[in-house]
């Protein structure tokens, strides 16, 4: 069995073919996401027309929350063309079409073929410009009553009033995202022009020229430069991620917290795991980086569409 997998994001649309083992078995094609509903629909129809004969099902990973029937988007999606959430995905192919939120799909890919594949319970955080999330409870995606569960919009500092992309204030996303790191750096330096890259470049510079050396952690090295405001911002951002992970570990008693996305590579995972397990009241929780790759969303949507799951047992 094979799936035509499509990932619809705010800036790019990708497509490829995925088999039942989660292998990508065709070229990955890339398109810019059109600014209009009709433009997006035309690209989706062209992709499906060209490739549906190579697959048994069509699996779409998309921005936005997806209903429990995996047929349609719930509510709005932020940075995609107006009207896109009303897309009638089911009409795009005569074959079965299956839709899931991109972060949920990526969490499923980690659960089946990635770093959390031996875990019945895991929470994946995608740290990029924003923060996405996907939660696995006892080998099933946590979807909630309508399918919108897994939104990482719990508040971090309810009295700070930092605006979040969701329209509310002070959500985890507003602190733990790349944008959050930039805002923290702007606050600490007083310079409104600081970028996320400025901070990351400084972090990399300090890590290349540590004042101390030998067997100490990245976080320990960075702490030797604690009078550097960029480094302070980075360490605060990392601790904000830690804080969110502690809450998630206490709520879910999950086997593993998986960090994915472009910003995850800068996080000192060992530090997060060590500090988290000092604080939680549940049981030992692993923290790991994602391993299912950049196309995890397509792979996960394909595996879900083909009903590839693990046996319903606690296994970690």
């Amino acid at each position: 069995m094979k799936a035509l997998a499509i990932d619809v994001g705010g800036t790019k649309i990708y497509n490829t073919i995925v088999d039942e083992n989660g292998n990508i078995v065709a070229n990955v094609e890339k398109h810019s996401t059109p600014k209009t509903f009709d433009g997006i629909r035309e690209i989706l129809m062209n992709i499906i027309k060209s490739h549906e004969n190579e697959a048994d099902v069509v699996a779409i990973a998309t921005a936005g929350s997806v209903n429990n029937e995996n047929t349609a988007i719930l509510g709005s999606t932020g940075n995609i063309a107006e009207g896109y959430p009303k897309m009638d995905f089911m009409s795009l192919s005569s074959k079965k079409v299956f839709v899931e939120n991109d972060a949920n799909a990526a969490a499923w890919a980690e659960h089946i073929i990635g770093v959390s594949k031996d875990c019945s319970d895991s929470v994946m955080l995608t740290l990029g410009t924003g923060v996405g999330g996907g939660i696995i409870v006892n080998n099933k995606l946590l979807k909630g009553k309508n399918g919108a569960a897994g939104e990482m919009h719990f508040k971090m500092y309810p009295d700070k009033r930092r605006k979040c992309t969701c329209g509310a204030y002070d959500c985890f996303e507003a602190y733990a995202s790349g944008t959050g790191l930039r805002k923290t750096a702007v606050e600490l330096t007083g310079n409104p022009d600081v970028t996320t890259y400025d901070v990351i470049n400084e972090v990399n510079a300090v890590l290349k020229h540590p004042e101390t050396s030998g067997g100490i952690s990245k976080t320990d090295i960075l702490r030797t430069a604690s009078d550097d405001k960029y480094i302070q911002a980075f360490l605060k951002w990392q601790d904000d991620i830690l804080t969110g992970c502690i809450g998630l570990a206490n709520l879910f008693d999950t086997c593993m917290i998986v960090l994915s996305g472009s910003m995850a590579e800068f996080v000192d995972i060992d530090y997060i795991e060590k500090e988290l397990n000092k604080e939680i009241v549940t049981t030992y929780t692993k923290v790991r980086k994602a391993t299912a790759g950049n196309y995890a969303g397509m792979i996960g949507a394909a595996l879900l569409a083909m009903n590839v799951g693990l046996k319903n047992e606690r296994n970690c």
Copy 2:
């Protein structure tokens, strides 16, 4: 089928008989919780010896996290006799013995016979001296990899450094509990002797003599007394509960948040529901007070022990 239901708390142990419909069908007996392991074990053995012939199973709701096999406590329990978590519950009766965390059990009682009985997904918060929690996902208790899930220890103000009973700082419990209300009132008044009752008495006084009247909410009335530091503390406490509920609604896309416990009666539920639904990115979430009563822990443990559950369908 009937269960001998026992509730082991930090100060009292209760027991009664519960039928498959969740009805209490015998007297509720009450004992002070002994300070020693042996004392608790003796009371449990006496209860079971006296009443096990009236029931088919023994159902124990207890302080502390309980494993996924429902046989034993995980880790420590805080305010009960040292060694209690190592109790061999299974040896107490020749009949089936079933153990569950008290807040989880109470959440199950609400799910089967209480306010959330038409909900596939609900989150119950028990607001008392501390904060307990029980989470239902798709008609099942959320237990996590080892059974400890549902701990409401996500951080509210990570930079405030208010000590929590769990040993960490700034958890939801440290703000949303009765103790949290007292601490907030102490902070705002500068008076270390303020009690929770002082604040509640002041709230009741203002609500009896409102400066405005007619069709306005309790919260609106209290806001007319906003230069009263006790009232400020109360409103801040209520907003801290709201903040936690927003995060839970976004994580779980749950049908209903159920507030139970002695402190829940003071919360303006309509205010929480209205404000929560303005902020969340998931779908409309109800907020209600619990209705299964003071013995919900025993009822829920009994229903779980007798395998009384709802059909596995989304139904709200």
